[in-house]
């Protein structure tokens, strides 16, 4: 019985929390996407005065980069010869 109540409460929690989690996470992701866009604008053909320097962010943001171009609706890596996929 206690188990049942517990899992019901958890479900209730989730029911109320999920929308907030998804909304906030989404806007967090949008912020990240903007950052990625700024850092790797060059790969989209946008002039970026700092591309030489943002290059060194790549190691840290490799996975992020892959997720980003997927989210941006591009199936393949936009940096030529740079196959994350």
């Amino acid at each position: 019985m206690i188990e049942k109540i517990k899992s019901f409460l958890e479900g209730l929690d989730e029911h109320y929390q999920a929308p907030y989690r998804s909304a906030l996470t989404k806007s967090y992701q949008e912020e990240n996407d903007f950052f990625m866009l700024m850092a790797f604008a060059e790969s989209l053909g946008v002039q970026n005065p700092a591309s030489f320097y943002t290059m060194e962010l790549l190691p840290f943001l490799l996975e992020e980069f892959h997720a980003w171009h997927k989210r941006m609706g591009m199936q393949h890596s936009l940096i030529e010869h740079f196959g994350c996929c």
């Binding site: 989690r21 967090y28 912020e31 903007f34 030489f52 943001l61 010869h81």
Partner: protein
Amino acid sequence: MLLESITPIIFVGGKGGVGKTTISSSIASKLANLGKKTLIISTDPAHSLSDALNVKLGSKIVNVSSNLDAIELNPDEIVNEHFKNIEDTLKSYAKPEMFPKIKEHLELSKETPGAQEAALLEKICSLLVERKDYEHIIFDTAPTGHTIRLLAMPSVMSAWTEGLMKHQKKRDEIADAAKVFWKNKPEYEFNPFAPSKEMRWKKAIAKLEERKSLFLRANKILQDINLTSIYLVMIPEALPLYETLRAHETLKKFSINVGGIFINQIIPKEQNSDFWQNRVDRQIEILSQLNKNLPNTKKIQVKLNSKDLRGIEELKNINFEF
């Protein structure tokens, strides 16, 4: 006198072929001769500093004489070093199977326009910021256009990174709000706040911060009248005159202090052929135009010499006339 009150950091710029290297290495030799520890740096990809000093120089600091060190920056080498660093960092983060691809990408990136410029800029900023124990650092620069761009770069770059950082603040606020709702799901695969992901973002941001602070510090030094001045070199002819006036204008925009203008290759007033007399008249005309346009800038004249001046001994004896 010029040398007693000269700033610790000196840029020597001007049109190609007017004698920048001779003037800058002459200033350096004179300062070293006064017992001040001096470093002269050539940033022109087409180096001629070795030839002027008559010493074999390279991309490592070489001691030329007592109190005088010299270095010729090699953009290719600096670019390679930069990418080598990135590669090493990547090695610890990327999956091994991605590595060949990444290497290929980095190789190609070395060729991107601006890579050499950016590498050079960074090196110059580092040299400016860690002056070590040099009392004077003299930059023998590439022709005007390049130099002005180079001097403008730190402010452009710091503005860019600044903007990115501001945006980071906002991002962090949102992250804090969102994290609350992820508390109960630490092992969920798509948790954007998994420790490893957070860690990486932090590292990337730290890298940017490092850059920003380097550019900001360099910029502060460049715009400080007591620390930095640029001397423009010209010869008494029309084109160098116009270029000098334009450069003076642009440097004002970037609030970089022009210490003075060297007019090199002045010919003596007493000439007995018509050809040379005409040249003298032309010279007087150019100098008066210069005085009219820039009445308050210090002007230093250097006489045309009948032989090539090379090596410390000859360079330090070049006469600067005010």
